[in-house]
């Protein structure tokens, strides 16, 4: 039976790949991290921090997240599978807090401590939250922007999306700070590019075409910021002040060659590290602080190599 053998071949391929996973030590504490994403360099940096803490503390960590930040249901399925593995604790970065509540309650009933990371979960179930204060971080970007364009003029924002907590907080943090502290600065447009570099490039070009006297642009995550940089290059707008968010090789290069004035960086490695550390402590029944601020920095060409900055940037 040729076809049956073919199916068996495929199944054994699964078996081979799976056996790598089963080999891990069984008696170690097991802590799954369910993230908002997986492929972006930012999430890979969070994973690196989690792996670092896992190695230091002698626990087993897995890291998973859906393909896009819209796939709320996929994330719920991941959380359900993680719970089935009877973990010691769970790290969870909610795409939508409400949707996850039933499963989080299930975790609570099973005595599995939940550590929220990256953005909070609107519930009292998580025993701790390890996150960046995005409102304050974006407000710092607004201050830097106002300073560099001389306190007045038109600016615009390219944001990754209008539904996620980080998208909303970074937009509002920037916009509100401008209104309060820099009333002479006018925000002429806010557009959303799904954090996709190409889409954000097109959006930024359209904004620049519509407002030829634009002085500055803020890209609210890695993909958005790179989109703004691309648009600036393609249209030859050398005077435009660009402020980005997070890091990555392309963004670091843009800061070094002067296309980008500077960027806010979170501490993704720290987010992953602190999440696992808090999870281990909670699993062992030790006290953990309810809110863990993982911090943020503004960096530019002059500070990019400073040790405290270089340590949190990723390629």
């Amino acid at each position: 039976m040729l076809n049956r053998r073919h199916m068996l071949g495929a199944i054994s391929a699964v078996a081979l790949m799976a056996s790598a996973g089963i080999g891990a030590a069984q008696d170690k504490l097991y802590i799954p991290l369910i993230s908002k994403g997986f492929q972006h360099q930012f999430w890979q940096a969070v994973k690196a921090g989690a792996d670092k803490a896992a190695a230091e503390l002698g626990v087993e960590v897995t890291f998973e997240g859906p393909d896009t930040e819209a796939q709320v249901d996929r994330q719920i399925d991941m959380l359900a599978a993680a719970l089935a593995k009877k973990p010691a604790a769970i790290g969870f970065a909610a795409l939508d807090s409400q949707a996850a509540i039933p499963l989080l309650k299930q975790a609570q009933e099973a005595g599995i401590p939940v550590i929220a990371f990256d953005s909070g979960v609107d519930s009292d179930i998580p025993v701790a939250t390890a996150a960046t204060d995005n409102l304050a971080a974006a407000a710092l970007a607004a201050d830097k922007m106002a300073e560099m364009i001389g306190g007045s003029g038109k600016v615009a924002l390219v944001v990754h999306d209008q539904t996620s907590r980080t998208g909303i907080d970074r937009r509002d943090g920037f916009v509100n700070r401008m209104k309060e502290a820099h009333p002479e600065v006018e925000i002429v447009d806010i557009q959303y590019g799904a954090g996709d570099q190409l889409q954000s490039t097109e959006i930024a070009k359209a904004i620049l075409t519509a407002h030829s006297d634009l002085k500055g642009m803020f890209g609210a995550n890695e993909g958005s910021a790179i989109g703004v940089v691309n648009a600036k290059k393609e249209l030859g707008k050398t005077d435009l002040v660009v402020i980005g968010y997070d890091s990555g090789a392309a963004q670091k290069a843009a800061i070094m060659d002067g296309t980008m004035a500077g960027a806010i960086t979170q501490n993704p490695v720290g987010i992953g590290y602190e999440t696992v550390k808090a999870a281990v402590a909670a699993a062992k029944g030790e006290a953990v602080s309810k809110s863990i601020d993982t911090g943020f920095f503004y960096y530019d060409k002059s500070t990019i190599d400073a040790p405290e900055i270089a340590a949190v940037l990723y390629d």
Binding site: R4, A10, M17, I22, A70, D73, I101, P102
Partner: protein, 333 residues
């Protein structure tokens, strides 16, 4: 009822060829279940099996819609965003307008049927290729969902019974040991109904006939365009049910969701042995295909297989399943 020679011909061909692939797909599903059960003690526990079924419910319903369209030789790329659109419509009716639950359910299914009717009309009457027509619909509906919802999730907190559509358990209230979520029950009931429609009604017969020889259907004097529109409308209505299921599970209509879900639905359909060339397929096969996909994904997660490899394995399984089916048919024919 005037069954044409072409229609009956297609039907008998289906009966001759459908069984084998279903057995093959079913055997693969059993092999996967046995393998994962042996590999991890955490796999075969009631809560995890229910989680797998729950994870299958939305994709399974979308795949049923996709099966109908694919059997006619068409394709529907809009099933994912249509699902989201219907969820948003339910949100508008229940949360924005504060109407009672039955109105939300009717509105979601009606919206789906209407959009399916539009797609079908574009394809059958304006002769736009299905790929293009439904690609257009996919984008239109993605945009409209964002516009109507004001780009924010719509929560159903004012309709406390809404989450029960998917997460409540009618079976569990009779048999407490078996708390099968209603979403799963709806999937299986829908599968039975649509199987019946395909095998026992004129609509079903024309569905296969259009896929195997549309010209013959036309020449025999049947209003092929009208039947095609009806099939797309039915598929749209089923997407409305998927919209209710996902919204009720998340207790919110998430307007940005849905893109990419059409590919998972199509994958379930082809794993289940339905031919993309049309004229051949079954709902049972599609359900097995959808189950294979969620069992595989859940099992790999339980085994802590790295996420990048999960995607690779899923791709391999799709190709292996379709190749095995092709080999069998080449030998048979």
């Amino acid at each position: 009822m005037t069954a044409t020679p072409a229609a009956t011909g297609a039907l008998s061909r289906l009966k001759a060829s459908g069984a084998h692939q279903k057995i093959l797909a079913f055997a693969s599903l059993i092999v996967l279940l046995v393998f994962f059960s042996l590999a991890s003690p955490n796999f075969l526990q009631t809560s995890n099996i229910l989680a797998i079924l729950q994870a299958t419910s939305v994709n399974g319903v979308l795949a049923i819609a996709a099966t109908l369209v694919i059997i006619t030789g068409g394709i529907d790329l809009s099933v994912g965003t249509l699902m989201t659109f219907c969820a948003v419509i339910a949100g508008v009716v229940l949360t924005f307008w504060g109407m009672a639950l039955p109105f939300g359910i009717i509105a979601a299914i009606a919206a789906g049927t209407f959009c399916g009717f539009i797609s079908g009309s574009l394809i059958a009457r304006m002769k736009i290729p299905p790929f293009i027509a439904t690609l257009g619909m996919m984008l239109i509906l993605k945009g409209l969902s964002l516009v109507i919802s004001g780009t924010k999730p719509i929560y159903f907190n004012d309709t406390p019974s809404f989450p029960l559509i998917s997460t409540g358990s009618l079976i569990g209230s009779f048999i407490p040991a078996l708390p099968v979520p209603n979403g799963v029950l709806i999937l299986f009931v829908l599968a039975l109904v649509i199987s019946w429609v395909l095998s026992r009604t004129t609509l079903g017969r024309y569905c296969f006939a259009l896929g195997s020889n549309e010209e013959a259907v036309r020449l025999s004097g049947v209003n092929a365009d009208a039947w095609k529109v009806a099939i797309y409308a039915l598929a749209g209505g089923i997407c409305g049910i998927a919209g209710l299921l996902i919204a009720s599970r998340l207790n919110s209509a998430q307007p940005a969701l849905g893109l990419g879900y059409e590919l998972d639905a199509i994958a379930a359909v082809v794993i289940g042995g339905t031919s993309l060339a049309g004229g051949r397929g079954s709902i049972l096969g599609t359900i097995i295909g959808a189950l294979i996909m969620s069992v595989l994904l859940n099992g790999l997660r339980i085994l802590s297989v790295a996420q990048e490899w999960q995607t690779v394995v899923t791709g391999l399984i799709i190709i292996a399943a379709v190749y095995a089916d092709m080999l069998r048919r080449r030998r048979a024919g």
